[in-house]
C-alpha cells in the first residue's frame, strides 16, 4: 500500500492509545492467567505454590467441573442449533416481498437490545412456580405443576430458552443482511430452470449464505460460553443442585466466591482453548469462502 502521508512517527502515535489498552487490560492479564493456572494461590494472594499442571489434572477429574462442561455444551449447542434455525426461518420469511415487511423486520430484531439479565428476569416471571403464565399453560395442558426451582433439568431448559430468545434479534439482523447480498439473478435463473421454492433455498440461498451462518455460529458460541453470566446470576445462581452451573458461572464462583485463584485461572485457560478452536475454524473457513465470491 502506498503512503498518502509520508510521516514516520504519526502512525505509531495513532495506534498507541488502542495498543496501550489492549496490552495493559487484555494481553498481559491473559498471559498472567496462564502463569497463575500453574500455581496454588493463598486466599490473600500473598503466597504462590507451584503446582505445574496439577490444577488441570484436578479440574478434568472433578465431577463438578465435568458436570459444568456437559451443561455448558448443552446450553451453547441449543442456542446455536435451535436459535440459528429459527432465526434463519424468520429472516427468510421477512425477506419476502410482503406488505408491511418493514414492520415485521423491526418487530423481529429488537430483542437484540435486551441484556441477558433482563431476559433472565422476565423469564423468571414467566415460569414463576406459583404465578407464571407458562406454569399455568403447562398445568392446563398436562395437569402438572412444574417447578423449575426444584427440578434441575427443567431449570437448565428454561435458562437455555431464555438465552436463545434474547439472541433471536441479533441473528435475524445478520441473516437479513446476508439474504440481501444473495444476487437476485441467480434466484431468477434457478426459477427459470424449474427449481421450486425449497430447491432454490437449499441449492442457491443456503450455500451463498454460509459465510453469514458461520459468522453467527461463532458469535452464538461465544455468547453461549461467555456472555450469559448475568442471565444465570439473576435466574438460578447455578442451581438447583448445580444444574445450571455453566462454565463461566463456575469460574466466577471459584475465583471470586471461594477465592481459589489458581484453580479459577486453570478454568480460564480451558475457556481460552475453546476460543482458540473457534478462531482457527474462522480462519480456515474465511479461506474457503473465496469459493463462493
Amino acid at each position: 500500500m502506498e503512503s498518502r502521508f509520508p510521516n514516520r512517527l504519526l502512525p505509531y502515535l495513532l495506534v498507541l492509545p488502542s495498543l496501550v489498552v489492549v496490552l495493559v487490560f487484555l494481553i498481559v492479564p491473559s498471559i498472567q492467567s496462564f502463569y497463575l493456572s500453574l500455581f496454588r494461590v493463598s486466599p490473600f494472594g500473598n503466597v504462590l505454590i507451584f503446582k505445574g499442571l496439577r490444577n488441570f489434572v484436578t479440574l478434568l477429574g472433578d465431577p463438578a467441573y465435568l458436570n459444568s462442561l456437559i451443561r455448558s455444551f448443552f446450553f451453547t449447542g441449543f442456542i446455536v442449533v435451535v436459535g440459528l434455525s429459527v432465526s434463519l426461518g424468520l429472516a427468510v420469511l421477512a425477506n419476502l416481498p410482503l406488505a408491511g415487511v418493514d414492520i415485521y423486520r423491526t418487530a423481529l430484531i429488537w430483542p437484540f437490545a435486551l441484556s441477558p439479565a433482563v431476559a433472565g428476569t422476565i423469564w423468571a416471571l414467566l415460569v414463576d412456580p406459583s404465578t407464571g403464565p407458562i406454569t399455568y399453560l403447562v398445568e392446563r395442558a398436562t395437569g402438572m405443576r412444574i417447578n423449575w426451582m426444584t427440578n434441575g433439568d427443567l431449570a437448565l431448559l428454561i435458562v437455555t430458552a431464555a438465552a436463545t430468545w434474547k439472541m433471536l434479534g441479533y441473528n435475524v439482523i445478520f441473516f437479513l443482511a446476508g439474504l440481501q447480498n444473495v444476487p437476485k439473478e441467480l434466484l431468477e435463473a434457478a426459477h427459470m430452470d424449474g427449481a421450486g421454492t425449497f430447491q432454490r433455498f437449499w441449492k442457491v440461498t443456503f450455500p451463498l449464505l454460509s459465510p453469514t451462518t458461520f459468522f453467527l455460529f461463532i458469535m452464538n458460541s461465544l455468547y453461549g460460553f461467555f456472555e450469559v453470566f448475568g442471565l444465570i446470576d439473576v435466574m438460578t445462581q447455578g442451581g438447583p443442585g448445580k444444574a445450571t452451573d455453566i462454565l463461566v458461572y463456575k469460574l466466577y464462583e471459584d475465583g471470586f466466591v471461594n477465592f481459589r485463584t489458581g484453580y479459577a485461572s486453570a478454568q480460564s485457560i480451558v475457556l481460552f482453548v475453546f476460543v482458540a478452536i473457534l478462531t482457527i475454524l474462522q480462519f480456515r473457513f474465511a479461506g474457503r469462502k473465496v469459493f463462493y465470491r
Binding site: V28, A107, A117, I122, L125, T131, Y136, L176
Partner: protein, 276 residues
C-alpha cells in the same frame, strides 16, 4: 421473485404468530408492571392493564436508587462507545493512510486479538490489576479497560479503504496535514459507520454485568443490570413481580430506544458488510 398467494398468506401467518410469541414475554412484563401486588400474585395470571403503574415505578426507583443506577449506566455506556469510536478511528487511520510502516502487521494483529480474549479468560489478573491501580468502585474501572475495539478498527479500516485516494492527494496538494484530513474529510464521511458502532457499543456496555459486579461494591457505583439482581434479591417470600418488572422495563428502555433510532445506520453501516 414471484410467490403464490398461498405462500404469501402462510408467510404472513407464520411471521405474525412468531412475532406474537417473541413479543409476549416483554408485553407480559409491561402488563405486570401496572398491577397491584395482589393482581401480580394471582393464578391464573391476569393479562389486563392495571392502575398501579406509577406506584410500581416509584417503588422500584426508590428501592434500589434507580436514578443513580440509570445515570451510571448511561455515563459508562456513552463514555465507552465514544472512547471506542475515537480509538478505533485513530488506529484505522494509521493502518490505511501511512503505507507499510515497520511493525504494522504485528500491531494490527495485536488489536484484532481483542476478539480472542473475552473477560472470563483473564478475569482474575484484570481484577487484580484494577485493584492495584486503586480503581475499585470508580468510573475508570468501568470504562477504560473497554476502550479498545477490534470491531471498530476493522469497520473503519474497511470503510477508509473504499474512500478514493484522490481525496487524500487533493488534501495534501492544498497543504492539509494528515490530522486535518482525518478531521475534515474522513470523520464527516464516516457518520453512518460511527452511528452504527455507537449503537452496538452502547448496547454492549449497557448490558455488561459480570465486570461491574466484581469491580463495584458501593450502591452509588452500581449499574442498572446489577439493580435487577438487587430487586430480585430483596424477595424472601413471594416475589413482588409488579415492582421487579417496573425496574426491568426501566433497565431495558434506553438501549431499546437507541436501537429503534439507529437501526437503519446499523444495518447499512455494519451488518451488511460484517461477514465479508
Amino acid at each position: 421473485m414471484q410467490i403464490t398467494r398461498t405462500q404469501r398468506a402462510l408467510a404472513h401467518i407464520t411471521l405474525t404468530v412468531s412475532i406474537l410469541l417473541i413479543v409476549f414475554p416483554v408485553v407480559f412484563a409491561l402488563v405486570t408492571s401496572t398491577h397491584s401486588f395482589q393482581e401480580s400474585f394471582s393464578f391464573p395470571p391476569k393479562f389486563h392493564v392495571g392502575s398501579h403503574l406509577l406506584d410500581n415505578y416509584r417503588a422500584a426507583w426508590e428501592r434500589v436508587h434507580m436514578g443513580r443506577l440509570l445515570f451510571n449506566s448511561t455515563l459508562i455506556s456513552v463514555a465507552v462507545a465514544a472512547g471506542k469510536i475515537v480509538l478505533s478511528i485513530l488506529a484505522a487511520f494509521a493502518f490505511t493512510y501511512f503505507g507499510e510502516f515497520r511493525g504494522k502487521a504485528t500491531l494490527f494483529i495485536l488489536i484484532l486479538i481483542t476478539h480472542m480474549l473475552p473477560l472470563p479468560i483473564r478475569i482474575v489478573p484484570t481484577f487484580e490489576l484494577v485493584e492495584d491501580f486503586g480503581w475499585m468502585n470508580t468510573y475508570y474501572a468501568l470504562t477504560i479497560p473497554f476502550f479498545a475495539s477490534a470491531t471498530g478498527t476493522l469497520l473503519f479500516r474497511q470503510f477508509f479503504l473504499t474512500v478514493p485516494n484522490d481525496l487524500a492527494d487533493a488534501a495534501r496538494m492544498d497543504g492539509a496535514g494528515p490530522m486535518k484530513f482525518l478531521w475534515k474529510v474522513l470523520v464527516p464521511l464516516s457518520k453512518t459507520n460511527m452511528l452504527a458502532l455507537f449503537m452496538i457499543e452502547f448496547i454492549y456496555m449497557w448490558n455488561q454485568y459480570l465486570w461491574p459486579l466484581i469491580v463495584t461494591q458501593s450502591n452509588d457505583m452500581r449499574v442498572v443490570q446489577i439493580g435487577l439482581k438487587m430487586l430480585l434479591a430483596g424477595e424472601e417470600q413471594a416475589a413482588e413481580w409488579n415492582v421487579i418488572m417496573a425496574g426491568t422495563i426501566l433497565a431495558m428502555l434506553p438501549p431499546l430506544i437507541i436501537l429503534l433510532i439507529l437501526q437503519g445506520s446499523f444495518v447499512k453501516g455494519f451488518a451488511m458488510r460484517q461477514e465479508k
